[in-house]
């Protein structure tokens, strides 16, 4: 048994870094604090790679399966003797894999930001937030129990809130951060309820005992029914709500495009590579339960994933803000991953989808981070988000151009880039189990290629735009991460995921299935071709098309008015028809009754003052009548 106890530092370091930069940051020099943060994360990255190496290549397997190792664990908060929140580190294939993803991208972003955020006000604040995020994300990844995961889940949410709202004087940024937090919070409510139901039935939070396919917990409550579904299914659906919120699945997706208000490195790190895939990770984490005792919930996952991928891809075709395009493509790619999980079963051949999903998660992290950082470099030089303001940039930004191209090819699934492999696995998995979803994904693959090259061409080729000051290539601090990531995106496809990350930890024999691979590559090329025709150089085709499908284009351009719907619900229904009435009711009914009691008392006291008339004889009269009435009362009426 290898000793993994040092992994605690993977959690502690970023936290300490956060405290240091948060409390003392404004005292340090901006540059120093930036370097500190980067250095700290460097160490963590090193530790993670060490861990990954030790886990995958030196830890012993039991009958060919990777074991879940609890590196360390201590009780943080005791509820009952069975239920308690622990804080700890759980190592298993997916968590280690995520460890790599998070630290790599995060490290890249740290370096990149040194250049990108140079001279920004609140530089040290930015880095402290980044450290906070890294801490939370790693905690989420390494959680040993679902409640720990929830805790870090929330922390991730808040750090994303803080980073989106980094430019807190910009109203749009503030609005976006608020939106992001509240939408995800709403989803997390589902997550929490799911946890409650789960824990009520299984009486445990611990992942290992929860997800042990032959354990007692997993079958708990699948017999108890509620409104037609088993409580287990209900809890899993609720948990998935949480995942959908973070991963911007329909209908919780609305926060992601707006989240692009944040600094671009943040978008790359949080809203492309790491945090948004937390939902996928969550489902993967609970996968045995989904697969074994809540298949219905798994179908929900599949269909939601599929729909989102299509829906987002369509919208992506119409947006002109490059970061938003990338955001929608992120959604659609995560849709892929969800779908892959959804179509998978537990163990063996049928577990292909699971492995594919994780694979795609990995590759996607690489190329999507690359895309965003590239976009960042572009924006950095052009000072605009809109591709309408760009064109012919290939001359000015060679490195960015190449890396961006690689990324585009990768996401379009063109071999030999990594995207091809992972996407191919997913399609294969879909093909195995559900032809309809398979068809959908095929279409999406094409659309993806189209819109990616749409922006590629219109940025780097297209019309020769005149810039008031000529764009210049980004500094090394920014280009180096691009290059590294580009390499990662290019080659990570050759990582033998089927040996490392599978649903049951055993090795899974896979190969390129040409029947699926070739058409998918072709459809990708087709999409590229169309984009080439439309955007290689200035042409009127796009406008013609837009005019032709006027309404559908308008709908897609306005993101199918989902935002407006939300706005309607929150502003009109919640605020105007619930909150305001409640406040009114409280003032004018509940409170009023209390005041009425008082005023009634006063009124009565005014009414009865006539008794005190000052007339001696009236007094005497009352006296006598009183006496007689008492006498009558107690002699005849109430004896």
């Amino acid at each position: 048994m290898i000793n993994f106890s040092y992994t605690i530092w993977i959690l502690l370091l970023p936290f300490l870094m956060f405290l240091l930069l948060g409390l003392a940051g404004h005292k340090l020099k901006a540059k120093l604090s930036g370097l500190l943060g980067t250095f700290g994360l460097g160490i963590i990255t090193f530790l993670s790679y060490l861990t990954a190496y030790k886990y995958f290549f030196t830890s012993e397997k039991i009958d060919g399966a990777f074991q879940k190792i609890t590196a360390l664990n201590f009780t943080w908060l005791q509820f009952t003797d069975k239920l308690h929140i622990d804080m700890g580190v759980l190592l298993d294939p997916i968590s280690v894999m995520m460890l790599i993803v998070v630290t790599t991208v995060s490290f890249m972003v740290h370096i990149y930001s040194l250049g990108y955020m140079k001279g920004e006000k609140g530089f040290e604040r930015f880095y402290s937030f980044l450290s906070l995020f890294s801490f939370s994300m790693l905690g989420l990844v390494l959680a040993t129990n679902i409640f720990q995961m929830y805790i870090f889940w929330e922390l991730v949410g808040v750090s994303s809130f803080l980073l989106i709202g980094f430019y807190y004087q910009k109203p749009s940024a503030v609005r976006a951060s608020k939106k992001a937090f509240i939408v995800t919070r709403f989803a997390d409510l589902g997550f929490l309820i799911g946890i409650l139901i789960l824990s009520f039935n299984t009486k445990t939070f611990d992942f290992i005992s929860l997800t042990n396919p032959s354990g007692a917990a997993i079958s708990q409550g699948s017999s108890i029914g509620f409104l037609g579904l088993s409580v287990m299914t209900w809890s899993m659906i609720f948990v998935f709500l949480g995942g959908a919120g973070k991963s911007a699945m329909f209908p919780f997706h609305i926060w992601l495009p707006d989240a692009m208000e944040g600094p671009t490195p943040v978008s790359a790190l949080i809203h492309a590579a790491t945090m948004v895939v937390a939902g996928v990770y969550l489902v993967a984490r609970m996968f045995p339960i989904y697969a074994i005792s809540a298949p219905v919930a798994l179908d929900v996952v599949a269909y939601v994933g599929a729909f989102t991928s299509l829906f987002a891809a369509v919208i992506a075709c119409t947006q002109t803000d490059i970061k938003r395009v990338l955001a929608y493509s992120t959604m659609s790619q995560i849709g892929y991953m969800m779908l892959a999980l959804g179509v998978a079963k537990y163990g063996g051949e049928t577990g292909l989808g699971y492995m594919a999903s994780m694979f795609h998660l990995f590759t996607h992290a690489m190329f999507k981070a690359l895309l965003f950082l590239g976009a960042g470099a572009i924006i950095h030089s052009v000072h605009s988000n809109y591709m309408t303001d760009m064109g012919g940039l290939r001359k000015y930004l060679p490195i960015t151009h190449i890396t961006f191209l690689i990324a585009c090819l990768t996401i379009s699934g063109i071999p030999p880039f990594s995207g091809f492999f992972s996407k191919d696995e997913i399609l294969a998995a879909a093909f195995q189990s559900n032809k309809f979803l398979f068809a959908v994904e095929y279409a999406v693959a094409g659309i993806t290629a189209f819109y990616m090259f749409r922006i590629y061409f219109s940025i780097f080729w297209g019309k020769d735009t005149q810039y008031q000051h000529t764009p210049h290539e980004a500094p090394a601090t920014m280009t180096i991460p691009l290059i590294i990531l580009a390499i990662g995106a290019a080659v990570s496809g050759f990582i033998p995921f089927n040996k490392l990350v599978t649903s049951d930890g055993k090795i899974l024999e896979t190969g390129i299935n040409l029947v699926i691979a070739i058409p998918s590559v072709l459809i990708g090329l087709l999409g590229i071709g169309i984009a080439y025709i439309m955007y290689r150089r200035e042409s009127t085709i796009p406008d013609k098309l837009a005019a032709m499908f006027k309404y559908s284009y308008k709908w897609a351009y306005n993101k199918f008015y989902i935002d407006e719907l939300y706005l309607f619900v929150t502003k009109k229904i919640i605020f105007r028809y619930i909150a305001v009435p409640v406040a009114w009711f409280d003032r004018h009914v509940v409170d009023a009754t209390m005041n009425t009691i008082a005023s009634v008392t006063q009124g009565v006291s005014f009414r009865i003052r006539g008794f005190q008339s000052g007339q001696l004889q009236k007094y005497a009269f009352v006296f006598i009548t009183g006496a007689i009435m008492l006498a009558v009362l107690f002699i005849y009426l109430w004896k």
Binding site: T601, Q602, V604, S605, F606, I608, R609, F611, Q612, G614, L616, K618, Y619, A620, V622, F623, I624, T625, G626, A627, L630, A631, L633, F634, I635, W638, K639
Partner: protein, 473 residues
């Protein structure tokens, strides 16, 4: 008369002696130095009060017409303390020149009422009781009309004397019924011969009405406010505390000793009347502007609370009533003391005049606040303990509903007490009562009151003493 006799009825005898001494002092004393008389009578009263606490044997006189026991002694002592305080409080007022000619009358009359009350408390026979109660009432009427040049004073006098005459008429009529049905006026005999027939109940109700008049229980209370307002402040305080206390005591004694047979009836009676009293008293108090009138109504509602102690007909209730009267004496005299001091200094008696008093006369306002809180039953002052024990006494016999109504009433009362506090502390005023320094007597009296308000509650020994002594009446 043997020395034993003297010992037994020393309260009355000493008081009579005191009255005579004051009279002699009036006759032979130096007409210029009238003010000395007040000091003299205060000293006498002080001595009597002190002597009252000496141990004395329980016993009977005049064939059981006069009874003395531990309980009754406590009651008398409490009354004496109150009277002493009133004496001290009156000095400043008496030193004014329009009163300087009537100092001795004032004290003689007061003392004689005190004699009446003591006599009445010691009654073992309705005749003594009747003599006592009249002796306690008639001089008060004269005192109420003491300010000969004030219309209100005269009006107060006539209202008091006539309505009390009527009430004693009714009371006597009731007694005659009881006499007719039992053939005796001895407390112990009557209780034996009592058996709950209509005529007796009628008699009881009429008797009760007569007593309720003295305690100013609704609906027999209407004279109270006017008389309190009209009479000189000192007399008002005396009426509101001493007379009321004495009447409560004797009513309690008679209820417990004479009418145990019809306990069910008088519990109902008290139930109804106490609810009426608390509520009506509070409702009237809310709107009052004149502080004397205000305190009059507050004292009415206080009487209602006191009845909660009676209703149980139990030891605890009895003890708590006696205790509460003691507390009430301190609290109410404290409040009145402030009113007296201010009306002596400025002649102002309205709540509005008190606006911003705290900023000019902080001490007085604090004492007032303390007294009012004690009346409202706010801890940690004595009033809280008093009320708590009263309620406990009622609750012991299961009158939870009554207790609930009572405590809800205390909220109303708290409201109007707070109005005064608000006036003194919060309200702003362009011409507040100017800061003034009151003389020794006032400060002394107020000091005693404050001490009483604070100590009586915490020092459990006082309550315990009352509790232990008051076994049997």
């Amino acid at each position: 008369m043997s020395s034993g006799t003297f010992l037994i009825m020393r309260h009355e005898l000493l008081l009579i002696a005191a009255a005579l001494l004051v009279l002699i002092a009036e006759i032979f004393g130096n007409p210029e130095k009238k003010s000395r008389i007040s000091l003299f009578s205060i000293i006498l009263m002080g001595i009597i009060t002190a002597v009252g606490f000496l141990p004395s044997p329980a016993g009977e006189l005049f064939g059981g017409m006069y009874v003395s026991s531990g309980t009754r002694l406590i009651m008398k002592n409490i009354l004496n303390i109150g009277a002493l305080l009133v004496f001290i409080q009156s000095v400043t007022w008496l030193n004014k020149k329009e009163n300087s000619s009537k100092v001795s009358e004032y004290f003689i009359l007061l003392i004689s009422t005190l004699v009446g009350m003591n006599l009445m408390i010691s009654a073992g026979h309705f005749l003594i009781f009747y003599i006592g109660i009249e002796l306690a009432t008639i001089p008060i009427a004269a005192l109420a009309a003491f300010d000969r040049y004030k219309n209100k004073s005269a009006e107060a006098g006539i209202k008091l004397i006539l309505s009390s005459a009527l009430s004693s008429g009714v009371l006597l009529y009731g007694l005659s019924m009881i006499y007719g049905t039992t053939g005796s006026m001895y407390f112990n005999e009557v209780s034996g011969l009592f058996h709950n027939n209509n005529l007796q109940i009628l008699g009881f109700i009429f008797f009760f009405a007569g007593m309720a008049f003295k305690i100013s229980i609704v609906p027999f209370h209407l004279w109270t406010a006017d008389v309190y307002e009209g009479a000189p402040v000192n007399i008002t305080s005396y009426l509101s505390v001493i007379s009321k206390g004495a009447a409560v005591f004797i009513l309690m004694i008679i209820l417990f000793t004479v009418f145990p047979v019809i306990v069910a009836t008088w519990q109902k009676t008290i139930f109804v009347t106490s609810i009426l009293t608390m509520t009506i008293g509070n409702l009237f108090a809310i709107r009052q502007q004149n502080l004397k009138r205000f305190l009059a109504f507050s004292s009415i509602s206080q009487a209602g609370y006191i009845f909660l102690g009676l209703i149980g007909g139990n030891q605890l209730g009895m003890a708590s009533v006696i205790y509460y009267v003691l507390v009430y004496i301190f609290s109410n005299l404290g409040a009145f003391g402030v009113v007296i001091a201010i009306s002596n200094a400025t002649g102002k008696e309205n709540i509005d005049d008190y606006n911003g008093l705290y900023h000019t006369n902080p001490k007085l306002s604090l004492i007032m606040t303390l007294a009012l809180f004690s009346l409202a039953g706010i801890p940690p002052v004595a009033g809280f303990f008093g009320k708590f024990f009263l309620f406990t006494g009622a609750a012991q016999k299961g009158f939870y509903l009554l207790v609930l109504i009572a405590v809800l009433n205390t909220i109303i009362s708290l409201f109007y007490y707070l109005l005064v506090v608000k006036a003194m502390f919060i309200n702003k005023s362009e011409n507040p009562i100017a800061a003034f320094k009151s003389d020794f007597y006032t400060r002394f009296a107020l000091g005693i009151c404050v001490a009483g308000i604070v100590i009586t509650g915490f020092a459990s020994i006082i309550f315990e003493a009352i509790r232990n002594l008051s076994f049997g009446i």
